[in-house]
Symmetry: D3
Subunit: 337 residues, 6 copies
């Protein structure tokens, strides 16, 4: 006799012995062999806050599906009982396991709940970036260019990290970064326009805002939009986000047809030079002052995120964090002030 349909629960909230339906990400699947030579799989499933093991024995129901179809990085819907084993830790005794589908989203399945994500509201950030473009770029064709690109890249913008592993490496991180850099750039360009009133032509505010919003837009093409496992795309590896971002700008501008060619050229130059030096990835040096504003706002925002993430997560004893592999240093955390 089959059990009744269980309630939809969260893996992280299940008590030992509790039975339920839940969604989980398959993060590890390892083949082993028993003493008698029979094979089995050790599968680890997790949601944001808990990882639990599910043993798939060769004589069980799921062995064949596990061997042939299950892949790490996919979501599953699982029906089963949660247990805490004293030695082996959290376990799942599964009654049913199947791949999650788009249809499950109506049941409340949201992949973003299973991966690390920005602390900020993604839709709100997207809307804020849109509003900045709409209200702060006075040149109409340039504004339309930026808004068109924002519209078209909306989906990856809302899912992607800024980078796979370096800075803002979590869902929505790219958007969080672009928004932060754009705010900083707006402040800086206004400040320096005032400081250098005699420069002719003056620092171009529109260009700085557009450059800030678009400087890393190529990352929406450099990274695959797969929530559970962000990877570089083929064009991302073969060309890189500088080329891909400029393509977006150049193609869209050509299609729209009315962007001032000089503005477009400078905007492309800003995208291409925002990493500042060849050894940092920009094949040309910045030749207009607007580049500097975007480069520094970008670099500061990225490095600060790395520092603060490192400080926040570190578990080392003592006054210093463990050596951060990206930063190559041990930060100071033993402070009261």
């Amino acid at each position: 006799m089959s059990k009744a349909k269980p309630p939809l629960v969260r893996l992280a909230e299940m008590a030992p012995g509790q039975w339920g339906d839940f969604f989980a990400l398959l993060v590890e699947r390892t083949r082993g062999a028993r003493r008698d030579g029979k094979p089995f799989y050790t599968c680890k499933f997790r949601d944001t806050l808990r990882t639990a093991t599910c043993m798939i024995w060769s004589d069980g129901d799921f062995f064949q599906a596990c061997e042939k179809d299950w892949q790490e990085g996919r979501f599953f819907k699982i029906r089963g009982t949660f247990q805490e084993h004293p030695t082996y830790g959290p376990q799942i005794e599964a009654d049913a396991i199947r791949l999650a589908t788009d249809a499950d989203k109506t049941d409340g399945f949201d992949p973003l709940q299973f991966v690390e994500r920005t602390r900020y509201d993604i839709d709100g950030m997207y809307q804020e970036l849109w509003t900045l473009a709409e209200t702060q770029i006075s040149d109409v064709p340039l504004r339309r260019l930026v808004l068109t690109i924002l519209e078209r890249q909306k989906t990856p913008l809302k899912h992607l990290p800024a980078t796979q592993k370096h800075f803002y490496p979590f869902a929505g991180g790219l958007l969080e970064h672009l928004l932060s850099v754009t705010h900083t750039c707006l402040h800086l360009v206004d400040k320096y326009v005032g400081h250098y009133p005699d420069l002719q032509p003056p620092l171009n505010r529109d260009l700085v805002v557009a450059g800030a919003i678009l400087h890393d837009m190529g990352r929406t093409l450099e990274l695959s939009d797969d929530v559970a496992s962000v990877q570089p795309t083929v064009p991302g590896r073969l060309l890189g986000h500088l080329f891909l971002g400029r393509d977006l700008v150049r193609d869209t501008a050509r299609e729209l047809g009315d962007v001032n060619p000089e503005l477009l050229q400078l905007l492309e130059h800003i995208i291409v030079t925002h990493l500042s030096l060849p050894e940092w990835g920009s094949p040309k040096l910045p030749l207009v002052p607007e580049c500097l504003i975007i480069h520094h706002a970008d670099d500061l925002d990225a490095k600060l995120e790395m520092y603060i993430r490192c400080l926040t997560r570190d578990k080392e004893p003592g006054a210093f964090t463990g050596r951060d592999p990206v930063l190559g240093r041990q930060l100071f955390k033993g402070r009261q002030v």
Copy 2:
């Protein structure tokens, strides 16, 4: 019969044939010899806008003084007639020449009028920096530390460039740079305190403001306070402005006696690491996030000044400036937008 005392004029405003008293800086003094073997000196004097030549012959009144005492980089009071020679250009026929003295300042002699200087009001900038320290640093002993240093370094702060040749290389440039960096840092720290509300302890606003005001204060000891010819000092070359700036902070804090030792330690760390990398002059890497804010605000402000000065002064034909020897690149100036 001697002439009457002439009016006090400016060299740059004298018409050909006009007689008057004026102050000027000796910028070049070259020994030559006539065909008959008699020596002479070609001296070039200038004020801000005009340079004129004064020939000192071996049988004239000033030869001995010129040979023994006159040094390039010194100011002189000159009585004489201005002429425009068709081939040799502006000339001075001198009746009297003597070193300018402090007493001449009551006559309106101001060395800052003879050198390149900031476009901004120096006293106003100093007051503004003071007010920032007074109002934006909440920790009382730290605030007193900053104000004490500002007070003590007031004189060189008001005269010195930020650097001899690289950025803000003109009188008052150091003050202009410090003020600009402090404003930027204030904006950035407020922004990022808001962005990372969970960081414990939060980004320290007092520390950022104090670090911004003091990060280059060592330059007041690194450069000689001689308006007409700024040179590195002996301690400046033997130790550098990172050590000298930290000395100012450490010694003053010790004297005041009440600065929180942890705050002081972090402030010293910020000064020592504000150049970010060993190859850029900082022997240690930044280990707290506040360093990043100061480094980027500083570096952007310095580089922007270099770019805009280069763009403003360049005389090359074509769409690009001549190669800037400090920046190592030719900037783009052929733009309408």
Copy 3:
């Protein structure tokens, strides 16, 4: 009474005292002043083999035109007498001087005769490169892509150097370089296809030929097509020939519409990575083996040209050349074998 119309001659072939019409390039124009203060210009005109001076006095016929209109790097038609001055060298006593026009080309005026140029026949080289593309690229759409670009860039291809100062710095040099690199690449790809028969897919011969022909095609947009004075263009400096060359390929392919997208992507990757390392100007590393063939064929051809030009032109006494400023070394020329 005016003289009869003189014969059209070459400056380099005029005997002292000979009168004639000739074309020449203004290579230097310096203002001077006589003792009495009157200004004059010393103008140096040259054709390929001789440089002669023409003095333009303030009371002569050409002074006003010289002061206002004449620019270095322009061609002039001159009527005058050639002289050899014992001290001052070759001189022109001019009866008439005016800017050369396009109409003069029917008179036999050919700017390429006045600048340094390739030893090879330009039209022949262009035809040979065309034929290589036509016969050696088997994929039809890819072949059409290459031929279309060759057709459209024909004019600059026939005039431009490969680089302004580094390698093949003479008219037609770009074509000579592309042809040489393509021949080398053809040999190498055939050789290595044979050496690695098991590679799947095999080294792509079409891709190597197309990459060889197009790798530096961006230089046709990076350098201005002005025979007498090749300069970087604005896009050349703001984006560089890697971006500009890929644009040519990408835009033309899009227009043609039938190029295999994978082939196109790899061709773009080859263009972008042909400088091999970020510090040499390629923001991405080569990720397919075809890149290596093009990089090495290109680099060898460029360096050999520099070596052989340096060895051929050097005038230093002794067994070694003077220090070549681009190569940074003194080559060995004191050999018999």
Copy 4:
């Protein structure tokens, strides 16, 4: 009762339960201890295609020999039964194990069968390289020099890899590399002799061929000629293959006595500079153009081999290979064209 003498078989071809004599390389020998404290050895033996484990227990016949005499990297003759254990994989139950001897070679034992080796016929390649030297070097004493060295280094040339781990890291790899580089150099020198007919003296074809054959000949002294475990020699580590290769050339030339001293000097220069830059291992920069041909032919051939080996062997899922530790990059393999 002892078994009859079994047939000579290959380990890789034995069926489970099959008994036979075979040769194998000891690749791992690890000491362990049982629960009761008794020691044992786990030995792994392999031929080209299979690795099998042989347990050596403390109370068995081979324990003493294993503990004292057996070394990894040596070949053994084994008599035993092959088994496939469900959990522990391929096993050998040994009846007899002894070190392989030179005498075994008459039995068909060939060490090259147990290590990775070139796909090409080694004797054929050696003969081909010899023929190139014999037919393509016109200067008789230089030709004799090259042939003499080829003759004397024949044995290591036929066994050694080009490098221990970087490129052509398999038996016969050095020969394969030298042959490939020489072919490329021959093509390039003929091409460029034609391209620069005015160079005096012309590019020296003999020198290029000799340099290509000899440039890495020092590796025959840098690496130990031990098929199963190639290691750097003491002179290899203390001096390196540049010095050792030049020694070979210099000593042999001195012995032969008739090599043109200028040719010899240039040949030595080519060997010493073929790595092109100090940071790549050449203490002097190339000062004659022939060096460039050899450097580029060498570098391309080495890098291509690394790329193609990486592409061929990679097992990573996805469009890119795993990160190659020598190349420091992930190559693109997800292509159809």
Copy 5:
């Protein structure tokens, strides 16, 4: 019935089955779990020559103390029986375990006996360094400055290594290094004073001796004075030993009040520049010749120690050591001469 008080022994000297009291350092403490889920700790204790395991079971007397209080890097007084287990090696069956205290030092407990230390007598080296300062510095105030610092830093000087992991990484290593460098410097300065008799002022012998003794004195503040576990201090990481060493000199000189300011300035310059280059940690280049002597004596002494330690301890088979991670090379040890 409790046993009698056992004799005080050394762990390294205990025979299997022997019972006694001894001091030992806790070097590893790992939590495990039995099959039944009960936790336990595996603790490894060692003195200089032996490491033994002590199992702490959850139902034993020491479990709670172990879980809460025991830390790696601390010393303990242990009463127990030593055993040799055939598989698991040396074991301690403990009757009592408690933290060692200062009071135990009267019992003969000396932490230096448990860590690696200099082969030389520490008190003797300290006395020798003192005597060098006293007899070889002729300038009285400078001599007093050096002696005062030696006196005040006596405790850490006698315990600390020169560096945590790079050179002289053992207790007393800093003293051994300073003494060696000072002897070398004395020899070199005397030699070069004689070689350059015309230099005005001559090489300053006092300065060299003082610089040699004090150049690394900042390390007494950079490293924590905890014998069992030397770690960088907070000021050590935030400022580094160059700043900290100069502070010691500057503060002490200010307190003493009579050091010649010029001497003091040069001494500070020597400390700050003794690493010679920015990328090696000195933000300023050496500007007086005395710096060179100290830099080279220091660098040679440090590197030699690293070489000789590596050669002495290496266990690799063959003629070369394993790759030293600090030196980044494999040293040659297969020599007879």
Copy 6:
């Protein structure tokens, strides 16, 4: 009537109007032209302390010889009158000028008197170096090797600088450097043999002494032995002094036949690695500790010489020297202590 034969004098000691015979070095020979177009030569001759000009007019006796035969860097015997011109300075009015010959040496002509040279007695230094080799190298064949090389390179050793422009750039400088380095090395090896008594085999004293004497012996082949104009030789530029020095050692050892092969190998390794890093010119890293002693003794001695020469000769006003082009820094000279 010809004058009587004048006395042999020194140019530097001639009074105005004095007539005499003297030897001088032609240091500059420049062609000029008079207003009437007639050519002339301005020749500058000097001995150690004075440079004087001799005008060679086209209608004078020496014009033809000057035009055809005179070369800068050659010595001449001149008969003439010395004059001091008020504007043009020291002049020679020549009666006779001819190339100096070997025969003139009997007249007291010594080229070393005309060039900058070591302050020390060259023969004495050579003898001292010889004695060090003879008394301090205990291994008889090694000692004979060193003495043989010293004997054979005696002539260049006594004339050459250590380097053309970098350190000890004056006649006898190489000998002065070798002697100084050898003394330092002797001290250091004795010191460190004592410090590391347990090293097996101990630091090899013979090897250090031989390495010190021979490390730069390749410079005797790298530089041409032409007193008046030292230049790199062809082998010097094509191979460099590391290869050439090792050749000397290797060839001589082979000829002598009895040097211990291990000692020889290490001696060669020391020569090859004495520059320590590839980017400093050593293609291999030092793998035995003896290398370190020689590297540091060598580098310190070279740098000290550069510092002291720069300090001694500098003419800049102020506390710092002008920027030394080799050292890349401005040294501190404004000191009293």
